[in-house]
Every structure is written in structure tokens, then in C-alpha cells.
């Protein structure tokens, strides 16, 4: 298993002048054998980052490295793609005209070409791995429930013997009762096989359950990054705190936001605000605390702050905090 590293990765859609920067100079490390959970609201660029990693979205800047070498080189050398992806919608992720066994077999590397008996055995093994009986390889996707389809999609991703798996909102289209089963499979497989994984979800509880490290994305940038316990236990960026506060809790009244930033709309990706991108919505920003004018003009950096929080007013990194 290898380490996946994004270095100053940017993805731009549309023309140079009127385009949108969906991912803006993102640095992100997914350490070998670890799960990095990527959270953020819709439009924050998390899915685009995932698609960029597997080559479905063209980079307009930066590099994506696997153990220090460009993914493309690794792919060419090994003769198979080193990254695999599992998609959100279990209904569009499998070809309705193909048996699930064929769908999985298609992803098994063709070099060296395995004998067809070997191929069948491998399909059976993969199905068993995700908790489906091996003898169901002949069924079509429409005979399966959403949760079962999502397991097949996972088996297909594993069939390519990838170095890294990218999971993009894989449980958000599932019922809660099924979500649990899929998350258990993901978690078990990850621990057994020491998979390196980028796990994207807008559900903080799900991310917390599956991940070792959490990265919070806002408006095309990573605004906070660190071990789960640190980021969720001691969040430094006000956006992370917002996300945490918004997680519904039974019996707790829905909290109110400070008036000036209540109901502020998410940023327009065509014209991100100047300075800190979060400042128009920030409950501790310039709209609430007028003396914090710096947020309007200067773009905060993550370096030097606890959890690499990209906020002018985040606590300093741990070493300094002790002293």
C-alpha cells in the first residue's frame, strides 16, 4: 500500500476567463494504509478532487503522486490503474446489461491475462470478500438492492488490485439500515488489507466512524486537516465547528446562528470572496466581530496552526501551545 499525495492540485472548469476553479491549489496527503475522510458541503470541490485523482477530471495545475511518483507513470509501469473509485449512485454505477460477475471481471487486470477459470475464481473470491455469495456472479444488477450493488461496486474496485481506493459518498444514497452494513464491509476490508483510502462524505458521523484522518474542504480548499480525534475533538476552523454544530442531535434544540451570518448563502464558485473565503459566513469573522478586518483582505494559511487550520485566529500548532 502506498501513500497518495496531492501537491498544489487545481481543477478548473470552463474557459480561462469565465471558468470556475473547483479545486484550488490543494495539498493533501493520504498516508499509506490510512483512511482520510474528506468532508465539506456540496460544491466544496471534494468530488472533483476525487475525480481528478482517478483521472476523470483534468488537472489545470499541480501533481498527484503515489509514493512520490506521478500516478500516470505508476499506471504505465504496472500496466493497470493504481487507483480505483467507488461511486455514489449504486443504480448508475453498474451496467444494467451485464451480470455483476462480468462487471467485476472487466476490472481484473488483463496483464498477465488470467485463464477464464482463474478469472471466475477471482470474481467469486471478491464477492465473498464483500459479503455476497460467490454463486450470485451471474445475476444482473436489477436483482440486487442498493446496498448489495454498492458492495458489488466495491468488489469491482478491489478487482483492479488498486494501491488506493477513492470512495465518493458511497453510502449517501442508501437507507440507514443498509448504510451500516456497507460501512462495516468497508471498515473490515480496510483493516484486513491495509488499504489506503480517500473516503468522501458530507456526513460527519460516517466520516468519523471510518476515517483515521479528517480533511475539511471549503470552497475548493482544505481548511483543516488532522487525526479524527484532534479535528473533531478540538476543531480550529470556524467552518469545522459549524459542521459539527449542524450534526443533528436528538433532544437538542436546533441551534441559532449569530444574526449577521445566519442564512448566509454558500460562496459563488465563480467569484469566491476576497480574503478568507469563509468570512461572509463566519460566526467569529468580520461580520460579527468588526475588529477582525484582516479576514476580509488576507487569505489565511494553514501552516503554523493547530490542525493546519486555514484561519487567522486558529490556535498555534501544538508545540507553541504547550509553552
Amino acid at each position: 500500500m502506498r501513500e497518495l499525495r496531492f501537491e498544489q492540485v487545481s481543477v478548473r472548469f470552463g474557459s480561462r476567463r469565465r471558468g470556475t476553479v473547483a479545486v484550488d491549489a490543494v495539498d493533501l496527503v493520504v498516508p499509506a494504509g490510512a483512511v482520510v475522510g474528506l468532508v465539506g458541503e456540496s460544491g466544496s470541490g471534494k468530488s472533483t478532487l476525487a475525480r481528478a485523482a482517478v483521472g476523470l477530471a483534468p488537472l489545470s495545475g499541480g501533481r498527484i503522486l503515489l509514493d512520490g511518483r506521478p500516478v500516470r507513470d505508476v499506471s504505465r509501469e504496472a500496466g493497470r490503474p493504481p487507483l480505483q473509485m467507488v461511486f455514489q449512485d449504486p443504480y448508475s454505477a453498474l451496467d444494467p446489461r451485464m451480470s455483476i460477475g462480468d462487471s467485476i471481471a472487466e476490472a481484473i487486470p488483463r496483464h498477465p491475462a488470467p485463464a477464464s477459470a482463474q478469472r471466475r475464481a477471482e470474481v467469486g473470491r471478491l464477492l465473498e470478500l464483500v459479503g455476497l455469495p460467490a454463486d450470485r456472479a451471474g445475476v444482473r444488477p436489477d436483482e440486487l438492492s442498493g446496498g448489495q450493488r454498492q458492495r458489488v461496486a466495491l468488489a469491482r474496485a478491489l478487482a483492479g488490485r488498486p494501491e488506493v481506493i477513492v470512495a465518493d459518498e458511497i453510502t449517501s444514497a442508501l437507507d440507514v439500515s443498509i448504510q451500516g452494513a456497507v460501512l462495516n464491509v468497508v471498515r473490515d476490508l480496510q483493516r484486513q488489507m491495509r488499504l489506503t483510502m480517500l473516503f468522501i462524505s458530507h456526513n460527519l458521523a460516517v466520516v468519523r466512524y471510518v476515517s483515521d484522518i479528517v480533511a475539511v474542504m471549503y470552497s475548493g480548499r482544505i481548511v483543516e486537516y488532522g487525526p479524527v480525534a484532534d479535528v473533531l475533538g478540538d476543531p480550529q476552523h470556524p467552518y469545522t465547528r459549524e459542521l459539527l454544530a449542524a450534526v443533528p442531535r436528538a433532544g437538542v434544540a436546533v441551534p441559532e446562528a449569530p444574526e449577521p451570518v445566519a442564512d448566509a448563502a454558500p460562496p459563488d464558485p465563480h467569484q469566491p470572496p476576497a480574503g478568507c473565503r469563509f468570512h461572509p459566513r463566519c460566526p467569529v469573522g468580520p461580520l460579527v466581530l468588526p475588529e477582525r478586518d484582516v479576514c476580509r483582505t488576507a487569505d489565511p494559511a494553514g501552516a503554523g496552526h493547530r490542525n493546519l487550520a486555514a484561519c487567522h485566529f486558529a490556535a498555534p500548532a501544538a508545540v507553541a501551545a504547550v509553552g
Binding site: L56, R80, R97, E143, G180, Y209, P248, P266
Partner: protein
């Protein structure tokens, strides 16, 4: 699936249209194959004595200028006419497929050129194109085949291109690309099989059109040349004598019409069989019917806002009646928030639709009691009821993009509500719309009201939908998964808004969600639905710790929270919800229930009062939660 599709084919072919098409097509094809063998000699025999005879026993359609039997000639011409039409269609389909799939095969830049070529070609009228090609390729059958074939190609290419682009956008294509599958292989294995059926339909229809086009070209003298003849030529020859004896022109004309019809009808039948066109539409929605009143109507203290007793929604399905919602009874006081939770397919949304009288045909709603604001809603459809529901009931749906009309300004859509139900004039309706948008905290409401829905963010659209519900002064808001499509931060705003509206004006809220935590946060009372029934009715405070139905407990345990132990597997509910058409006998949850015993498999437990104001439908409601064996939670196979 295989059974379903063969059944659809059987039904489509056995329908009157299917029988007609099959008989016609068979007749045309048999004629094309065998007619020249049987009648060739007769068709070519020249009888100088019988020139230009009218119809008679010997010559049913008369004779032509050389005394040949026109009827025999029409029969014999079937082969050439059909052959040419099929050849032209084949050519058109081939060229069309190549052009249409070029964008997929050639990559982005070259594909764009192929697309542009198709666009330009589609813009030319095809008959004009055919005439043009006929001149280029020379007058004659070969030229005409090329002409009509190439004229068919652009439309076919456009169809292929559009459908291929739709399929290519789906995730399984992306997955294949990530797996390193080549373009040609993706096209052959993934794209073509998924668009084949509509293409077959289009090709069949195109054959019919080609037949007509050939008749046209030959008639004009641009198609088949003497001594060969097809229907078009026969028609041209016959037309010269139409005033002397019309049968000579009518016979080939009828042949052309019947053959073209055979192809087009066959296309139509194929389309029906594979489900591109809807078959017969269902019977109109039955009104809510009132069964004979039962002896003891329950009495109660204060008039409730909403009272539902024994609600049942029935759909006809393959001869049987299935009831996805059964025995639902619930009651809402003004200002009360009641939640309904359950998995998809549990009947929670259908319950909401039935209450709002929105169950579509051929569904049927029955209830012992269905009262809203004291008015009996059974008996359905009355204008007074529509008005009552229109002004006093607000519905909020999951996807705000599909519940707002994308072509109308948001303000107009809101204003329309009061204009329709209260006859307000345009200006005051607009003012009210802006006011309501302001009330749901949409910034710059006056400006936003003039915008189209796509200019709103998801959260704003949902707020606009709520604003639409507030145009009148509703007494009840039914919100069906209103925040499922939204981000958590936006969800919080919408929930807060609903909460504020509810407390400020004492509006009742029926909140439907699959998310137990959200329901527990928003509602005072929670109804848990399973397989169409309410299985538990409890205060939301008891939901997390003291639920009595094993299903409720399983549902709660399955949701990871911010305190879930990360080192233990999540609880899962083994098995899957029952199909409403095949409910198990006894308790519907028994096959998945860790507490199930003999009695559960035999008797469906009634929804009985429990501990004062709670209700639960379980034979083992008294078993304390601690006594429940924990759900086995490994990555057990096949439980979802």
C-alpha cells in the same frame, strides 16, 4: 426481469395493434420473398389485345399500356421495393451509427467535428438531400439507395449521439474507464447494448419512411428505371390513366401504404414492448371511499388538526391488490410536530400523499376517518376540499429543484398560489410572495423573487418551497424528507425555519424522514413505520433509549452518531424489508427480528396502547432493551 420483459413482449404482440402489425409485416415480407416466383411470368406477359383494360375477373386491377396484369406487377414489385428500402435503411443506420458514436470513439476534439457535421446534416430536409444525392449519384436504383440511405443517416446519427452521450455520462462508464477499458470496448460492451432497443425501433420506423421515399423518387422518375419496376414506378404509370381506370394507380398506392404501415406499426409495437411508450394508461384515481361507519367511533376531547383512522392505500398490481400503506392511524394537534420514520418502501411518503389527497391513479385511498380541520376529506375531489387543502395545508418535498417549475420566476410561482385559491390580484399576490420569501429568510427577497429556480442554491430553493406553503396561512405543514438532499449546515437552517414557523403560528408539522436523529431533534412524537404499518408511536425523548419495538431499536442502533464506538462494527438489520405484494404471515418484521418466537410468525400484533400514551405493535414489547441480544454485526453476508 427476464420474465417481466417476455411478459411485456407477449402483451404487446397480443394487443390489437400488435396483431395487426405482425400480420401486415409478415404478409409484406412473404410477398417480397415469394411473389416473384409465383407471378413473375404473369406480370411480364405482354397481351397486346388487352391494353388498358379496367378491372375484371382475369385482371383484378386492370392492365397497363402493354396489356400486362397490373395486380401481378404490384405483387412482384414488392421484392424490389422492400429490398431497396431495407438496403437504404441499412446504409443509413450504418453511417448514422458511425457518425453518432464518433464523439465517443475519437475523443473530445475530433468528436466535436463529427458532432458539428451531424448538426449541419440534420438541418437539411431529408427529401431535398435525397434529390440532391440522386442528381450526384445518377438517376437509377443504386443512386436512389445511396441518396435515401445518406438522407436517413443524419437523424439516426443524432439519435445515437444523444443517447450514447446520456449513457456515457453514467458512473459505470467512468468505472470502466478507470479500470483501463479501451474506447472501442466501452462502446461495444457498455454503450451499444444500453441504447440498442430505441435504435431498433428507430431503424424499423426508418424502413417505413424509406419505402415511402423510394415510392416518391421512383414516381418522380429519379428512382428505379425501366424495365425494372417498383411500386413508385407503377404508381407513376398508373397515374397517367387515373381518369380512365383508377384501379391501375390505386393498387400500387395501397401496396405502398400498407407496407409502410407494416413497418411503422412494427416499430410502434417494439417500442411498446420494450417500454419506450406507455401502454394503456391506468384507470382514473378512485376517490377516497368511506366504508360503512363502524359502530363505535372513538370520541376524544379537543378537535384535532388532523385525525386519520385506519388509512389504507391500495394499488392494483398484476391482477392482485397490494396495500403499501395499511391500518395507519394518527392524530395531530395544532402546533404539534409529529415525525414518521422508516426505511424506503415503508410507506411513510405514501401516507403523507394520501393525507394530502395526492395519491395518483390507479392508487386508491380508503379510511375509516380522514379529517383535517374538522372537514371530512373522504369522498374526494370536492372543490371545497381542494380549496381547504390548497390554503391550509403546505407540502414540502425532498427535491426542491423538481418541485419548482424551472421556467417560471420563483415569485410568480409563489404568487400563483394565492391568485388561484384566494383570487388575489396580481400586484398584491406579488407583494405577498416577496413578503413570504422574506419570512423564510431569503436575503434580498424582492430581487430574488424575480429570479428563476436554478439561480437559487439548494437551501434557498427549499426555503422558497416552504415560503410557497406559507402563502396562505397553513394549519399543517407536511414535510417529506425536506432536508435529505441538503448539506448539514443548510439542513440546520431549514429545520430552524420550520421550527420557528411552527411555534410562532401554532402550525402542525408532519415530518417524514429516514433519519431518526433528525426526527428526534425536530419532533415531539415519532411514528415508526415498517412494511406499511405504524409499528410504534412514542415520544421522541424515548426514541433513543427506551424504544419498545425491536425494529425501532435496530433503526436507532444502525445510525452512526458522533459518540459511536469506532472500534466496534455498526449494528445492522439482517435481511431486507418485505415486498408489499408478499407480506409474511404474522408480524412483518419477524423474519428479521432477534426476538421473534412462534407467536410472532403466526399472529400480526395489533398496535396496542402501551404505558399510557404510547402505542406499540409487538408481542414482546415488555422485554427490556437490555435483555435484547445485540444485533450480530460482522460484515455478515447478504443482509442488505
Amino acid at each position: 426481469m427476464a420474465g417481466g420483459s417476455s411478459r411485456r413482449w407477449g402483451r404487446a404482440v397480443r394487443s390489437p395493434l400488435g396483431v395487426t402489425a405482425a400480420v401486415l409485416l409478415l404478409a409484406v415480407l412473404l410477398l417480397a420473398v415469394f411473389a416473384p416466383m409465383g407471378w413473375q411470368a404473369r406480370a411480364d406477359a405482354v397481351h397486346p389485345a388487352d391494353i388498358l383494360q379496367g378491372p375484371s375477373g382475369d385482371h383484378p386491377a386492370g392492365t397497363d399500356l402493354l396489356g400486362r396484369d397490373i395486380f401481378a406487377r404490384v405483387l412482384v414489385a414488392a421484392r424490389l421495393s422492400v429490398e431497396l428500402a431495407l438496403a437504404a435503411t441499412g446504409l443509413g443506420v450504418l453511417v448514422g451509427l458511425l457518425l453518432g458514436t464518433a464523439p465517443l470513439l475519437l475523443g473530445r476534439r475530433a468528436g466535436r467535428w463529427a458532432g458539428a457535421l451531424v448538426n449541419v446534416a440534420v438541418a437539411f430536409p431529408s427529401l431535398l438531400l435525397a434529390l440532391f444525392f440522386a442528381v450526384v449519384f445518377g438517376v437509377g436504383a443504386k443512386g436512389a439507395v445511396l441518396a435515401i440511405g445518406l438522407a436517413t443517416a443524419p437523424a439516426f446519427a443524432r439519435l445515437t449521439q444523444t443517447m450514447a452521450a446520456t449513457v456515457a455520462g453514467r458512473d459505470f462508464i467512468a468505472a470502466a474507464r478507470i479500470a483501463g477499458v479501451g474506447r472501442v470496448r466501452i462502446l461495444l460492451r457498455h454503450v451499444l447494448p444500453n441504447i440498442a432497443e430505441p435504435l431498433v425501433v428507430a431503424a424499423t420506423m426508418a424502413a417505413g419512411s424509406a419505402l415511402l421515399a423510394f415510392a416518391g423518387l421512383s414516381f418522380l422518375g429519379l428512382g428505379v428505371q425501366a424495365p425494372g419496376y417498383d411500386w413508385g414506378r407503377l404508381l407513376g404509370e398508373g397515374l397517367a390513366q387515373i381518369y380512365i381506370h383508377p384501379a391501375g394507380a390505386l393498387a400500387p398506392a395501397v401496396a405502398v401504404v400498407l407496407a409502410a404501415m407494416a413497418f411503422n406499426l412494427a416499430g410502434e409495437v417494439v417500442a411498446r414492448a420494450i417500454g419506450l411508450r406507455s401502454a394503456e394508461s391506468g384507470t382514473p384515481a378512485g376517490p377516497v371511499t368511506a366504508p360503512p361507519p363502524r359502530a363505535a367511533a372513538a370520541t376524544e376531547p379537543a378537535a384535532p388538526l388532523l385525525a386519520v383512522e385506519n388509512l389504507r392505500v391500495t394499488f392494483p398490481s398484476l391482477g392482485a391488490q397490494i396495500s403499501p400503506v395499511r391500518e395507519v392511524s394518527l392524530r395531530l394537534r395544532p402546533g404539534e410536530a409529529v415525525g414518521i420514520v422508516g426505511e424506503s418502501g415503508s410507506g411513510k411518503s405514501l401516507t403523507a400523499l394520501a393525507i394530502a389527497q395526492l395519491v395518483a391513479a390507479p392508487g386508491r385511498v380508503d379510511a375509516d376517518r380522514l379529517e383535517f380541520l374538522g372537514a371530512d376529506l373522504r369522498g374526494g375531489g370536492a372543490a371545497a376540499h381542494r380549496r381547504l387543502l390548497g390554503t391550509s395545508l403546505a407540502m414540502v418535498f425532498q427535491d426542491p429543484m423538481t418541485s419548482l417549475n424551472p421556467t417560471h420566476r420563483v415569485g410568480h410561482q409563489l404568487a400563483e398560489v394565492v391568485r388561484r385559491h384566494q383570487g388575489a390580484d396580481r400586484r398584491s399576490a406579488w407583494a405577498r410572495a416577496v413578503d413570504r420569501l422574506h419570512a423564510v429568510r431569503i436575503p434580498a427577497a424582492a430581487r430574488r423573487a424575480r429570479q428563476l429556480p436554478h439561480e437559487f442554491s439548494g437551501g434557498m430553493r427549499q426555503r422558497a418551497m416552504i415560503g410557497m406553503g406559507l402563502m396562505a396561512s397553513p394549519a399543517l405543514i407536511i414535510a417529506d424528507e425536506p432536508t435529505t438532499a441538503l448539506d448539514v449546515t443548510v439542513q440546520r437552517e431549514v429545520l430552524r425555519l420550520l421550527e420557528n414557523i411552527r411555534t410562532a403560528d401554532s402550525v402542525g408539522l408532519l415530518f417524514i424522514s429516514h433519519d431518526v436523529t433528525v426526527v428526534a431533534q425536530v419532533c415531539e412524537r415519532v411514528l415508526v413505520m415498517y412494511a406499511g404499518r405504524i409499528v410504534e408511536d412514542l415520544p421522541s425523548g424515548a426514541l433513543l433509549q427506551d424504544a419498545r419495538h425491536p425494529y425501532t431499536r435496530a433503526l436507532v442502533a444502525a445510525v452512526p452518531g458522533m459518540e459511536t464506538d469506532r472500534d466496534r462494527p455498526l449494528a445492522v438489520i439482517p435481511g431486507r424489508p418485505p415486498d408489499p405484494a408478499r407480506l409474511p404471515s404474522g408480524c412483518a418484521f419477524a423474519p428479521r427480528c432477534p426476538l421473534a418466537t412462534e407467536v410472532c410468525r403466526e399472529q400480526d400484533p395489533p398496535l396496542a396502547a402501551y404505558d399510557g400514551d404510547r402505542r406499540v405493535a409487538c408481542h414482546h414489547a415488555d422485554l427490556a432493551p437490555v435483555a435484547v441480544a445485540p444485533y450480530r454485526t460482522t460484515a455478515g453476508r447478504d443482509e442488505s
